[in-house]
Symmetry: C2
Subunit: 167 residues, 2 copies
């Protein structure tokens, strides 16, 4: 961190440490859980599944590579590899963008949509069992607020938030 190297570190309190560990613990377990569930039931990791979902909800089931990468919070490089793999499965195909010759659209194929329809119920059930069945309504509401608060400020737009002279 830019500002921490010299001044005395503000260590975490006991409570904060416990929460931090609980956070790491739970998020790791959840991620593993969904990766395994989808690898088993849909033959791909969670993030790839998320890409198909995004495409399925986009107009005409297609999206520009950069936009898809931005939505899914992954680099364009990673997306290139991912789409190549999904293309090999026949679930996505690439298409030249008519308006920008540099551009590519990722298009969800009919096979891709089928695959999604088949695996969605199982995945939703897994999400429900692992998350919503274990939390009270109040906790669900609270979790939403907390996650929105954490995401704010880590958005790419805020990447230079600690470079005030640039604003």
């Amino acid at each position: 961190m830019t500002t921490a190297s010299t001044s005395a570190p503000r260590w975490l309190s006991d409570e904060e440490q416990r929460v931090w560990r609980a956070y790491l613990h739970a998020t790791t377990l959840l991620e593993d859980h969904f990766d395994r569930q989808l690898q088993r039931d849909a033959g791909m990791p969670h993030i790839y599944y998320g890409l198909l979902v995004q495409l399925s909800q986009a107009p005409r089931r297609r999206m520009r590579m950069t936009e898809l990468a931005r939505n899914a919070k992954i680099t364009r490089s990673r997306l290139s590899h991912a789409i190549a793999r999904l293309e090999k499965n026949g679930w996505v195909r690439r298409e030249d963008c008519p308006s920008d010759k540099r551009g590519q659209n990722a298009v969800l194929t009919d096979d891709g949509l089928d695959m999604l329809r088949r695996s969605a119920p199982g995945h939703v059930e897994a999400v429900r069992q692992a998350m919503f069945d274990r939390l009270t309504d109040e906790q669900v509401r609270s979790l939403g607020e907390i996650m929105r608060a954490l995401a704010t400020g880590l958005e790419p737009e805020d990447a230079d938030a600690d470079l005030p002279w640039l604003r």
Copy 2:
């Protein structure tokens, strides 16, 4: 999921969908953030850093491979590779376990401890900025409870929770 394939799926409500997306969004951004921060400031990914932290807190700065893997929630295979890499950096070394000839201890070296001392303040500051500075005390407390609730039931011990005939 075992039980979902036939019965009608219980879809997520709008609120649940929003919370689920906020969760994925925030946890992805946070993980990326800390991976980058530690790759830059300590030359290793977040999970490797966590391994060194565990070792630093263990008696005599050493721990059995299996225990370390269990604590860090990773497979033994992954740990083997990780320790090999950290060994190459000189931050960890392996040591035969005296009481069990199959066993290995991972031992944090002096260099490893130094590296940890140098990078800990920056990392703590990063955690603070990204998480605790953005949440109220009440939210921190709530986050802790929520994460503990989510972790319960995903523990490896419960892996066969849906195989009641085995208990």
